[in-house]
Amino acid sequence: MMKIGRFLLFKMIRIITLVVAICFISFLLVKNSPIDPIQAYIGADMLKVSPEQRGQIAAYWGLNEPVMTQFLNWGRAVIQGDLGTSMIYRRPVIDVIGERFVNSIVLMIAAWLFSGVFGFILGVVAAMKRNTWVDRFIQWYCYTLASTPTFWVGLLMLMIFAVSLGWFPVGLGVPIGVLTEDVTILDKIRHLVLPAVTLSIVGVANVALHTREKLIDVLSSDYVLFARARGERGLTLFWRHGLRNVALPAITLQFAAFSELFGGAVLAEQVFSYPGLGQATVEAGLRGDVPLLLGLVIFSTVFVFVGNLLADMIYEFVDPRTREGRI
């Protein structure tokens, strides 16, 4: 138990230094952007605002103070959980992120599970059937997917399943013209399917190729040779000797891929106008909503860290080999 505690403490310190640095760098970046925060806030009413009023707004927000003081003020608020008010939505950033996160997390979990399971199966099949046409086909498929733009897959999905076949709605998270309380779970799932499938299809390649490599290593080991000599074949062989050896690396890899998952979600959500975090990021960037953009950068960073931390912990504590090797 002591070991887990020390490991977590060390990781936490590192994560905190990184998060603080990310906050500082992104704060500097948006401060130096050509977009005037006052103009972005007021928008079309700019002509009605006199220079004196402008000055008052700037003073009220502390825009005249040195950047370092501004950063410290902002940082103090962030630590207390106050990320400011979003300019597009006119609501606290934390509320917007929370609401969007619920939508996004459903999408990402669905895609994460599906691409993990499907990729794992593909990798296992490819390795078990090594050097046959099945293997070559799976490899070709994975390498092609790795060079496919996510948003293009989304567009294809839209064209085929939403426009031509009409099986699924064209976009958004809920049906148009229906009151919030009348939206059923089924409606939500119908809107979720296409973005989730898009994300999953693209996410398969990495896990599949990695699992294939690992399983080929395992299959060329002495204990598998011995098992084969005893007459074990096919699924039994994989079940007894392969699965446990390749499942862990695959799971670790899936956790470490949170960053790509988030990036993919940004694109998929944009294509399907799905109201998640990714779409909010794009909106914030396009319309100069600085507080929301900063909040989202921090949030996505924490999200990636959680994934990496889980991956590290699995590597460190779940695998019996590394666990015993260090005691």
């Binding site: 760098i25 948006v30 092609t144 060079s147 496919t148 790509e260 988030f262 990021t281 860290f305």
Partner: protein, 277 residues
């Protein structure tokens, strides 16, 4: 023994590289061979489905999609090359610095690598693009600043390995200076690795360029970029103009795949540990 008249693997790999390279060059300099008059507005040939005359069809303004796609890809390749080049340079410098400038520098650079890996690429690109106000500068700087970490790790590991090799130690004993060793022992060893790293980095660069432009934060809508073409096509999807999105995306996929293939083949040819597999 069977006589084999077909090519061996090495020759096949070499031909893959040459053909892929020629294809990319053809697209890169497409301005010289496509008929640029085709992308002017021509309302008589609006929304034509793909045919021999218009391979990829035409859009709602009667512009030939094949020409637009080729020009867009050429632009994307240029932006991707610049971005990948800058990224490789950063990776090379930081990787070398981490391996040669002592423990503090090493730790700081590995912290920096973690820092850049911890923000999702696309979010970092949006942030940088936002800061620089979009356009070429935003996209290229964004790509340069986000793609170097993994390659920097490779470079660092390589330099570490060469530094502790016997022949470098002998060289040092013989009184050669650090600069001489870097120029004559480390750099030649590093060059193929960096070249391959560059080729494999390129697909990511071009895909991210297209993605950020597609989102509307990259190149301006007046440019014939592939991301712009695809984001415009979204408006016409529900009216059944499938070719607007299908062919440009497929072409982008092929270009990226070819670059990836060239990178992989180069590695097979150059990397001594993999050359004889």
């Amino acid at each position: 023994m069977k006589t084999n008249l077909s090519m061996n693997r090495r020759q096949r790999t070499l031909w893959t590289i040459v053909l892929g390279f020629l294809l990319l060059m053809a697209i890169l300099f497409s301005k010289t061979w496509v008929n640029t008059g085709n992308i002017l507005t021509n309302l008589e040939t609006r929304n034509v489905a793909p045919s021999f005359e218009h391979l990829f069809g035409t859009d709602w303004l009667g512009r030939d999609m094949f020409t637009r796609t080729m020009l867009g890809l050429s632009l994307s390749i240029k932006v991707g090359l610049l971005g990948a080049f800058g990224s490789t340079a950063i990776a090379l410098i930081l990787g070398m610095a981490a391996a040669t400038m002592g423990k503090v520098a090493d730790q700081f650079i590995s912290w920096l690598i973690d820092l850049f890996l911890s923000v999702p690429h696309l979010v970092a690109l949006i942030l940088i693009s936002f800061t620089l106000g979009g356009g070429y500068k935003g996209v290229i700087v964004g790509i340069m600043a986000t793609h170097w970490p993994s390659l920097a790790r490779v470079v660092r590991a390589e330099v570490m390995q060469v530094r502790s090799a016997e022949y470098v130690k002998v060289s040092r004993r013989l009184g050669k200076s650090n600069g001489w060793i870097a120029a004559h022992h480390i750099f030649p060893h590093l060059l193929p690795q960096v070249l391959i790293g560059f080729m494999l980095l390129f697909p990511h660069a071009i895909l991210h360029e297209a993605a950020i432009t597609f989102l509307g934060l990259g190149l301006s809508p007046h440019e014939p970029a592939i991301g712009i073409i695809l984001s415009e096509s979204m408006k016409y999807l529900s009216s059944g103009l499938w070719w607007l999105a299908f062919f440009p995306g497929l072409s982008l996929l092929i270009v990226v795949r070819v670059f990836d293939k060239i990178g992989g083949s180069l590695r097979l040819l150059i990397d001594p540990t993999k050359a004889h597999l």
